[in-house]
């Protein structure tokens, strides 16, 4: 057996010992990445608890989880896309469109509530599939395709609703505001979305393909992954999750607003990135994204409790995004 080979590339260890030590660097690195943002979240909570008496109360925490839920669900959808090396700018508009489609089919077309909700979800799915079509077969950059969808979906929402809020099924309103055993329905939906995302990313073909495509789409293609076909799964899931978030948002507002979700895509992307995903693709996790969304939610809530003006809130959130990604970049650099 040869000596350990020191050198410019880490080349230590031997094939014989390798198998016995299966679970190391990669998994560990992911854990550390999620742990980094988790430490940030906990630190934030400690600081806000000290600064405000109203922060660490059951009512307020419930409040935060409800407020963060819509962004978190949008961000879960965005996670698939970012892991696969893409970007989806349309999620906020698609959420708005899904709410409007549900509202219109229910209150104007007189569809049953269940069918109206389904129509909203299908609208989101279709928007995602159109994105995939433009990207996979039209060869448009994801940024451009989804920017176009951002505008088209918002336009459609305005056309369908004629610019006025629409009524929604009563149980959707209950979903947006009610709770069972002290746990808001919204929070439950968010946790279900978390579980689905973790499941898809870790255990399904589509999920593993997303990491490979995001890491190197050409290597994935030359290994037999049908990259263009996978775009439909990736952007379809993003659209579907956006629609779910949009329906939940309508429930919270107790009506479908044509302008609902405007600008939410940026919060969703921020949550994914704060959660440790790289915009160049190939990394990211469901748990990380949840933590990212909670950091944004806790920060908004805490700043409001501290009577920081809405103007300054915008500034602080921007600064936090920059610092979070900066820390993550520094950490990555020190690891490699």
């Amino acid at each position: 057996m040869r000596n350990m080979r020191p050198g410019e590339r880490q080349d230590a260890g031997t094939g014989v010992g390798a198998v016995g030590r299966l679970r190391q660097t990669g998994r560990l690195q992911q854990l550390v990445s999620a742990a980094g943002s988790l430490i940030g979240l906990l630190a934030l909570i400690v600081v806000l608890t000290v600064l405000s008496d109203n922060f660490l109360t059951v009512a307020n925490l419930r409040n935060i989880s409800v407020q963060a839920a819509v962004i978190a669900i949008l961000a879960f959808g965005e996670t698939y896309v970012i892991v696969a090396g893409g970007i989806d700018l349309s999620v906020g508009s698609v959420a708005g469109l899904a709410g409007i489609v549900m509202g219109w089919t229910f209150s104007n077309a007189g569809w049953p509530a269940g069918l109206a909700v389904l129509a909203g979800l299908v609208a989101g799915l279709l928007a995602g599939l159109v994105n995939a079509l433009l990207i996979g077969f039209g060869r448009l950059p994801a940024f451009i395709a989804t920017l176009a969808m951002l505008s088209m979906a918002r336009g459609l929402a305005l056309v369908i609703s004629n610019g006025v809020p629409l009524g929604i099924p009563p149980w959707v309103s209950t979903l947006g505001s009610g709770a069972v055993g002290g746990l808001p329905y919204t929070t439950i939906v968010m946790l279900v979305a978390l579980a689905i995302t973790a499941f898809v990313l870790r255990l399904t073909y589509a999920g593993r393909a997303m990491y490979a495509i995001g890491g190197n789409s050409e290597a994935a293609r030359l290994s037999g992954v049908r990259v263009r076909r996978q775009q439909f799964v990736i952007y379809g899931l993003s659209g579907l999750f956006a629609a779910a978030a949009g329906i939940l948002l309508a429930g919270r507002l107790a009506s479908a607003q044509p302008q609902a979700g405007t600008g939410y895509e940026l919060d969703a992307i921020a949550a994914v990135v704060i959660g440790g995903a790289s915009l160049s693709g190939g990394s990211g996790s469901a748990l990380g994204t949840l933590i990212g969304a909670l950091i944004l939610g806790v920060l908004r809530n805490g700043l409001t409790l501290l009577n920081v003006s809405a103007f300054w809130q915008q500034f602080v959130i921007g600064a936090v995004i920059a610092v979070a990604v900066l820390l993550d970049t520094l950490r990555r650099r020190s690891v490699s």
């Binding site: 031997t14 390798a18 198998v19 660097t25 290994s223």
Partner: protein
Amino acid sequence: MPPLLRMRGIAKRFRGVTALDDVDFDLQAGETHVLLGENGAGKSTLIKMLAGALEPDAGTIELDGKPVTIHSAQQANALGIGTVFQEFTLVPDLTVAENIYLGRPPRRFGVVDHRRMRRDAAVLLDRLGIVLDVDTVVGRLGVARRQLVEIAKALSHDVRILILDEPTAVLAGQEIGQLFALVRDLRASGVGIIFISHHLEEVARIGDRVTILRDGRKVGELPSSSSQDELIQLMVGRPIDQQYPRRTPEFGSALLQVEGLGRDGVFRDVSFEVRAGEVLGIGGLVGAGRTEVVRAVFGADRHQHGTVRVAGRVLRPGDPAAAEAAGLGLVPEDRAGQGLVLVLDVGENLGLATLGRSTRLGLVDRRGLRRRAAEIVQRLRIRTTGLDQVVGNLSGGNQQKVVIGKWLLADLKVLILDEPTRGIDVGAKVEIYQLMNDLTDAGNAVVMVSSEMPELLGMSDRILVMADGRIRGELSRAEADSERVMALAVLGAEGGGAEHAAR
């Protein structure tokens, strides 16, 4: 007179691992000093200290007898040290001229003076004997020409010491000759050249002296006329009995049949078959269309004419997934760009080609994938800290084993290897040749594109020579020698040129 460069007692450790230990190295003006060693021996670490990318933990560096410390690439440039690294540093979207003067274009009234930049670049290329249009976008150039642009870029500074890190790894015969002529000219003009290489036959051709590193230590400094056996023994610390251990089994039926394959303007009339147990080599100059043909066979690119059959089944053109399902695998020329997902771990990369067949009802059998990957790691002796090590951190030879291992897991009939040992050290090379033997022993077929003549001659049972997008000849193992291969590769190209002129 003190030497141009003197390094004394250089040491470097990375997180507890010794990369260099008490290494001495010196260089005279007008000398080519070859630095030889396997991957991981410490060659790159040593030159990174001269390029300003790393600083030694111990030891001194002197230029003209004066001690210097080199903190940055800019400082290295100012001291007259130019480096051409293995990894390309060119911007694909910019032109040749823009790349050469990247970051410091000639300016006039604060605006880039494009005319002067293009003129300066043209003068520089002309002086170096490189025939290239300065307005060509670099992304359109093949790897060989990009290499020449890299060298021109390094020499656009006032250089007294030129470091070339495996410059011939991506070049074929003709271009290597051109590069060596350039190196000799520079040497004659008094430049000191440090030449890093894996290719033993280059040592005598280009070097004056050769220093050999192994495991971070200097194990020898010899005149470049030393025998190859002596050099190999020093490099690997043991004699390698056989560099090309080809074991030819009985051939079976045809596994891959290619008929009349063509893509307009790139290649045409390409027909061949490969039988079970056979290694078919494809030789020729860079740009002859070899890579284009094997990519089309695999379906990485589309072709317009002809058919590809694997074990009798016709493949759909331009569909790698169909090729994979039919039992065809491709180990591409560009390992990092096309063979691996560098940010993912060893296990994930090994499982990539078999992801589909390890999936039931959309769910991946991850445990099975990891288990099979672990077996491959052992079988191929991939040196890694574990399946969870990120592939980008492995050495070149081990990375290549991962790409090959990915296909061994698939239900493979024919494996296409495009430049399988490029940038890989001697020890790992032999292991890859043994893998080719194992594959053919098991009744599979191998197609190997290679620009390395000894490898092509040593490992192929039969050789096709391509030039100008066509097959120009076929040689059996018995009749093949380097003159015959080169004659077909070069004569073919000239014949093709005449044909074009006639049309």
